[in-house]
Amino acid sequence: MMSARLRLNFFGGGFRRWKLASSHRPCGAMAVAHGRGKSSTGPSDLRLNRSRRRLSAALAIKFIIFSSSSCTVGRRKHLQEQCVWPCVEVGENRIQ
């Protein structure tokens, strides 16, 4: 009984992770912009460390990340907990 319950919990957790992951499908450009995915237009490692991210955050707040004319993420609900971009630090007003 305990093993069955544990197995069910594991399956449920996996399902939840899969569901969250599938609902956040950035396009190629956004994957690069978020520092994930395969980069084809710049350095291979676009992940910024924390200090560099804070420096670029001051500049990043002047940009609109989601432009509905070019990015598919803008048309979907954006899960902020999935995003590593500095927009989390400046709030939701950057999502348009």
């Binding site: 237009t41 609109i64 432009s67």
Partner: protein, 377 residues
């Protein structure tokens, strides 16, 4: 604002701006000590070329230059404008050096100006013709100038040192006065556009520039599109060169620009060290121009550093209403422009720093300069 007595000025600083403001305000000026202590005294060739350009678009003016070129007496006449004009800007300065005076004078001309300018379209000293076409002409919209009559067509591109470029400019004249501007909302950057060009070199260089620039931009925004403009043959001018101009557009319609060009040294820059000159690689050029544009975005303001001076002049020429603009850090050229505006137009700006956004808000009551040259029916 006609004045009988000539205003005495000294030195060669901001020669172009002084002459333009004197023409717009019908103020006679006398400039002494023009590089009198230098090894090459007097006016530079591009400044003489500017005077020739004024001669073509104005009437009933007088110019008196002494033998050494260190003293100039200028009495402005009427700006008549004209169609199908041609002017060779030479190879000492880019065409961008002459475009700003033409835009200002053309607005207050008797007839619209259509002129063909020949020379260097992209160099390191002056804004490129792409920047004028993408940014400067659109800035006039804030002051009530319709964009329909404005046009800058790039016929051929010319890089230093030999030039060979050609552009066609059309500037409409305003009926009476400009419109006061209330331009303080800078917005957020929503897209980046640009043009990468190459003349008499491999077209692959443009792709290398774009690839490097996008590597920087895509960290911040995905909507980046830089066009390519490869010129060969006669359309590519007489010298090899390559460069890029980029523009950031905000949600409120502001345009911030940056451009960079790689070419062989200009005539004035030619020296012994030029023989060992190493040209900047396309990749470094792309990174450089991207960093320049990001710096402009970081500074804030509704215009970039290169357009602050023109923005202040347009505000000062506006009707006697309050004009309000927001800019980033004031450049030395902009500060000198404010001084010239005070001297010629008697307009003083109220400068208010904004510590929250690290920008500066400027307010002024315009001088209300009217287009008196225009015929009234």
């Amino acid at each position: 604002m006609g004045r009988d007595k000539a205003r005495r000025l000294s030195g060669s600083r901001h020669f172009r701006q002084r002459v333009v403001l004197a023409t717009l305000t019908s103020t006679a000026i006398t400039i002494d000590d023009i590089r009198s202590g230098g090894a090459a005294p007097g006016l530079r060739p591009h400044e003489v070329s500017l005077l020739h350009l004024l001669h073509k678009i104005s009437d009933h003016h007088s110019l008196d230059l002494n033998e050494t070129g260190t003293k100039l007496r200028y009495k402005p006449g009427v700006i008549v404008g004209g169609r199908d004009l041609e002017h060779d800007c030479g190879v000492h300065r880019g065409i961008g050096y002459f475009l700003e005076p033409l835009i200002l004078l053309g607005l207050f001309a008797r007839a619209p100006i259509s002129i063909r300018l020949k020379g260097i379209t992209n160099d390191t000293k002056d804004p490129s013709v792409d920047t004028f076409r993408m940014v400067t002409l659109h800035m006039l919209k804030q002051f009530g100038v319709p964009l329909e009559g404005l046009e800058l067509k790039i016929e051929s591109r010319g890089a230093p040192p030999l030039g060979g470029g050609e552009v066609f400019l059309r500037v409409p004249n305003i009926k009476s006065t400009l419109k006061a501007a209330n331009w303080a909302d800078e917005g957020m950057v929503k897209r980046i556009r640009g043009v990468s060009f190459s003349t008499r070199v491999s077209p692959q260089i443009e792709n290398r520039i774009i690839y490097a620039a996008r590597g920087i931009f895509n960290r911040f925004i995905p909507d980046v599109h830089i066009f390519t403009d490869h010129r060969s043959g006669s359309a590519g001018g007489r010298s090899a060169g390559y460069g890029v101009s980029v523009v950031a557009e905000t949600t409120t319609g502001c345009l911030l620009s940056a451009d960079a060009t790689v070419s062989y040294p200009n005539v004035d820059e030619m020296n012994e060290e030029s023989e060992n000159l190493e040209l900047t690689s396309p990749e470094d050029l792309g990174v450089q121009v991207a960093s320049m544009l990001l710096e402009e975005v970081a500074q804030g303001g509704v215009v970039d550093s290169a357009h602050q001076g023109l923005l202040f002049i347009l505000c000062a020429l506006s009707p006697p209403d309050v004009s309000k603009v927001r800019v980033g850090q004031l450049t030395p050229y902009a500060i000198e422009t404010l001084r010239n505006i005070r001297d010629f137009l008697d307009v003083k700006f109220i400068i208010k720093p904004d510590p929250n956004s690290n920008t500066v808000t400027l307010k002024c009551v315009g001088a209300g300069v009217k287009n008196l040259a225009r015929k009234t029916s």
